[in-house]
Structures are given as structure tokens and as C-alpha cells.
Symmetry: C2
Subunit: 228 residues, 2 copies
């Protein structure tokens, strides 16, 4: 049985890849990262997502927040609230966290090698996304190349590969796929700046992209249904 490390943030993209990996029969270890992010409530969502899919091996890895500072998501300023969804992805927003996916994948790579897992699954998406450099195909490809030379497993002919199954999918396609797999999107959270009781702000990039995705998929967002 192939073992995979699945990066689960608590958002809808990673909930979908976890469901896809389980559909494909992989033995999944889920990993989430605690780096004092503003939207740290996403860790509870990640735990709920894992439980709902019967994934018992969910690890929360603490990251020293020092190196990741200097972002609106790590206390370095306000989360921007765009007025026009078409502006999203046109530049790198203030919510970019320096080298975040590099750090996440590096720690996941170490974990994979320790556990004998052969795949890392990440919900990076380069279609309906915020413009982060480390969600692009060239980043995923470069990390996959790195992983092949970075580890003992790679040198011994069993490299750990990076899988980003959502890379070229629209948000609507992701939601449609996940819905067909029974993902409970009511357990996920996407908002960068949630209020009391983890209510989405409805105004940040992530809220805009989520709303547009559900609208395009023709599916109601259970998170909003529940809050109204």
C-alpha cells in the first residue's frame, strides 16, 4: 500500500486532495503546520476534515514563527480586502508568507522519509489562486527535482515525489470533484481574517475565490448556509 503525506491546511483545496488520495487507495498521514498564523483556527478545521474522512494519523508540526514573519498572515500588517475579484492573482499580495510552501514541503519530505512514504500531496493551485509564487507549476516541478537528490530514499532509487493534483483545476472543478467524493466543505475554512467563532470575513482574497468557485460550480457553500 503506497504511503502518502498529505498537507492539510483546513481549507477546501487540501480537503479535496485528501479525499482524492483516499479514493486512490493511499495510506495517508495528514500534516498541518502551526506557525502562529493569524488564521490559526484553520488547524481545528484540519482536524475536523481528517476525522470526517477517517484519517487517524494527523500530525500538527510546529514551525518557529521567526523565519516566516513579514506577511499580513503572520502579524506583519492588515489582510488586504480587494474590491474586485478580477484583481486577485494580478500580483503577489501582502498575504504572501516568505517561502511558506518550501518550508512546508521540506518538513513533509523529512517526515515522508522517516515514515517510508513515497509521495507528498499538496493542494497548490495555479488557476483561481492568489498569485503566490510557490503555488505555480514551476515551483512544484523544482521541489520535485530537489526531492529526488535531497534524500537517502532518492539516492537509493526510491525518490519521494511531489503530487499537486489540483494544479491546473479551476476552483469550481475542485469543488465539483470534492462534492462527488463526499467532502463536507462545511468543515473547511478558507478565510485569512476570520472573526469571532471563525466566521469568514467575506472580503479577503480567499473568501472571494471560495465564493466565486461555489457560484461557478452551482453548489451552495455549506459554510455560509450554516451561518445564515
Amino acid at each position: 500500500m503506497t504511503k502518502a503525506i498529505v498537507l492539510v491546511s483546513g481549507g477546501l483545496d487540501s480537503a479535496t486532495i485528501l479525499a482524492m488520495a483516499l479514493r486512490d487507495g493511499l495510506a495517508c498521514t495528514a500534516v498541518s503546520f502551526d506557525y502562529d498564523q493569524r488564521h490559526r483556527g484553520e488547524l481545528a478545521s484540519a482536524t475536523a476534515v481528517c476525522r470526517s474522512m477517517g484519517v487517524n494519523d494527523h500530525r500538527i508540526v510546529r514551525i518557529d514563527p521567526g523565519p516566516l514573519s513579514g506577511s499580513a498572515l503572520t502579524g506583519g500588517g492588515d489582510v488586504p480586502h480587494p474590491v474586485d475579484v478580477d484583481q486577485i492573482g494580478g500580483g503577489i499580495p501582502d498575504t504572501y508568507v516568505p517561502a511558506r510552501n518550501t518550508v512546508f514541503l521540506a518538513l513533509s519530505l523529512a517526515m515522508a522519509e522517516g515514515l517510508g512514504a513515497s509521495e507528498l500531496h499538496i493542494g497548490a493551485n495555479a488557476v483561481d489562486y492568489s498569485g503566490y509564487p510557490d503555488c505555480r507549476p514551476e515551483f512544484i516541478s523544482a521541489f520535485d527535482s530537489l526531492a529526488q537528490v535531497a534524500t537517502k530514499a532518492g539516492v537509493e532509487g526510491n525518490p519521494i515525489r511531489v503530487k499537486a493534483p489540483l494544479l491546473y483545476m479551476s476552483k469550481a472543478e475542485i469543488i465539483t470533484t470534492g462534492s462527488q467524493l463526499g467532502v463536507d466543505y462545511g468543515l473547511t475554512c478558507s478565510c485569512y481574517d476570520p472573526g469571532e467563532g471563525s466566521q469568514p470575513c467575506g472580503q479577503c482574497d480567499a473568501c472571494f475565490l471560495r465564493a466565486a468557485g461555489f457560484a461557478q460550480a452551482g453548489v451552495p457553500d455549506p459554510l455560509l448556509e450554516a451561518s445564515t
Copy 2:
């Protein structure tokens, strides 16, 4: 003034690259990592090395030890004591820590971007070394390629580059270079399995490589001089 992040472990290689970076006029931030390593005393050596060279900005970043477990250096077994120095580097030893340099460089990359540094300096060496996959030229090259697509700085045309100035140097050449730059190797520690008072065991790969390097350079090791 070019800013650089210099990875300082407390060993002799990284002490040498710190001296070389200062010689080259770089504004250096030193970084060390605490991952509950068996030879955690190296962090005190790293601090002493930085102080001796007047580097005031020395940061110790904590890494959740979970992902890095499964090595003789992180509690996963005994440190091997080879009987023949020629055996060193012939395979990947039990002291290999999964994806360690990938994790170290990833966190350093994040830190560099936050601080506006344009270079990462690492003391990786592929000549007189223990055979770790993440000390080889192909690893350094792959991480450098990754860094160019992973960050906002890279996308904006100012990629953070990886420098490994010792990559093709013998241990003797490293020691000779550092000695000329006034590095006090008596402050460094190399041993994987130090005893009481941080005394080197004299029997692990790192002790063997260090001893052979000093012998070949024709320089006495001040660490041994002090202990006798």
C-alpha cells in the same frame, strides 16, 4: 552592502564559511537550528564562533523534532564508530538525518526573504564528508534552482542564491583557509557523540574527518590541544 544568511552549526566548516563571508564584506546574519539533536552542545559552539567574529545577529531557530526523527543523531540509535577512516563516505551512514539540509535551507530562505538578504551560505562539502545526499553538488544546485522560483524576491528578479564555498575543498584546504582568516577552531565542535564537558569521542565519522583534516593541513587541532 549585500546581506547574507550564514548557516552556522558550531562545526569547523561553517565557522570557516562565516569567516569567508565576513572577509568578502557581507552583512551576515548567522542562523543555527535546534532540533533536539544529540550533539545539541554544538549550539553553544555556534554562539561562541559568532561572538569571536563579531557577528551580533545570531538566531537560533527551533525545529519541531518530529519530522527529523529516525536518525542516530536524533535519538534513533547509536552513533556508529567506524574503525577505518577510508570507509567514511562509502555509503549513507546512520547519522543521516532525513532531509535535514532541505529543512535548514528552506527556513533560511524564508528568513532571507524577510530580512532582504540575497544569499544563503552553507558549509556543505562533498570531498571529505560522510556521504550525506544533501551535501552533494547536485543537491546545492537543485535548491538554488528551487529558490529562484519559490519566492517573491525570485519572481521580482532578485532571487536569493545558495552559496556553498567549501563544496569542492578538502578538509585540509578548509582548515588552511580558515586558519589564514584567524578562525579559532578551538571554539568549534565536530563530534556527533560528545561526552561530559563536550569532549569529542574521537571515534565517530566527524571526529575522524576532523583529525585527518588537521593532520593533512599540518596544523594542530586546538580543541585536542586544550583537552590534553
